[in-house]
C-alpha cells in the first residue's frame, strides 16, 4: 500500500463518519489490485441511506472526489458501499 493512496481510505472514513448517525460502525477497507484501488465502505444498517443519498447523490459526490484525488496519485479509485 503506498502511503499516499492510504490517505484516500482515511478521507472516505472521515467523510462517512461525518455523514452517519453511528460513526463507530463506519469502517473502510482498502483492496489493492494492479490498476485500481477499491475502497470498501461499511456503515451501520440504518446509515446506508446517509452515505448513498437521494438518488445516489452523496455516493456520487464521494466518487467524484475520489477520481479527482486519484488523478493526483495516478491511480483509479473505486468506492463500494457494502451492506
Amino acid at each position: 500500500m503506498s502511503e499516499q493512496s492510504g490517505d484516500l481510505r482515511a478521507l472516505v472514513e472521515q467523510i462517512a463518519k461525518g455523514l452517519v448517525d453511528a460513526p463507530d460502525q463506519v469502517s473502510v477497507n482498502q483492496v489493492e489490485s494492479e490498476q485500481t484501488t477499491v475502497l470498501e465502505l461499511k456503515v451501520g444498517p440504518n446509515d446506508m441511506g446517509k452515505v448513498i443519498g437521494k438518488q445516489g447523490r452523496t455516493a456520487r459526490a464521494m466518487r467524484t472526489l475520489l477520481s479527482a484525488a486519484g488523478l493526483r496519485f495516478h491511480k483509479r479509485f473505486t468506492l463500494e458501499i457494502l451492506e
Binding site: 472526489l65 479527482a68 484525488a69 493526483r72 496519485f73
Partner: protein, 178 residues
Amino acid sequence: MPIPDKVAAANRINEFLRGVVAHGGLRLKYRITVDPPLPDERDWERPEVLVELAGPDSPLLLERGAELLRSLELLALEILRLPANEHEKICFDCMNHRALRLEELRMAASVAAERVRKTGAPYEFAPMSSRERRIVHLALRDHPDLRTESQDEGGRRRVVLYPKDYKAASKLASRTIR
C-alpha cells in the same frame, strides 16, 4: 430561518475540507467566511457561510460544470444535515464561478425567450441543479407571454420554457423528442 450556529457550521466545514486537502492531496486552500459582506443590490444567493477555494487545483474543481466544487458543497451540506430549503445558506465558490455561471444562465434564459417567441415552440434547457433551475425561473418570470416549468426527475430535471398559451397536447408530443 438562519442556520442556528453558523460558527459551528463553519468549523465542521473546515474540518471536512482539511481532510480533503490533507488526505486527498488536492492543492487547494480555502477561506470560510460567516455572514460575508454582500452588496445590497445583489439579487441572488445570499449565503450565510461562504467557502472560497483557490490554488493550483482550482481548474479541477471547475471541470465538467464545476462537478467537483458542487460535490464538495453537497458533502458539506449533508454533513451539516441542512434541509434542502436551507441549502442556499452555504455557498462554495472558486474563481468567481458562481457569479459567472449566474450571468451565463441569465444570458441563456434571454436567448431562449427570444427563440420561443420566434418559433412558438417550447425550449428545453439542459438538466440543472435546483439552485440553477431557480435562477432560470426567476430570470424568466417577468415575461408575461411565456411560462416556465420544471420537468422530469432526479439528475434529468430541467426547465422548459413555453409560450404562455401553449397547449398541453402538443406539449406531450414535444416531450417525446429526446
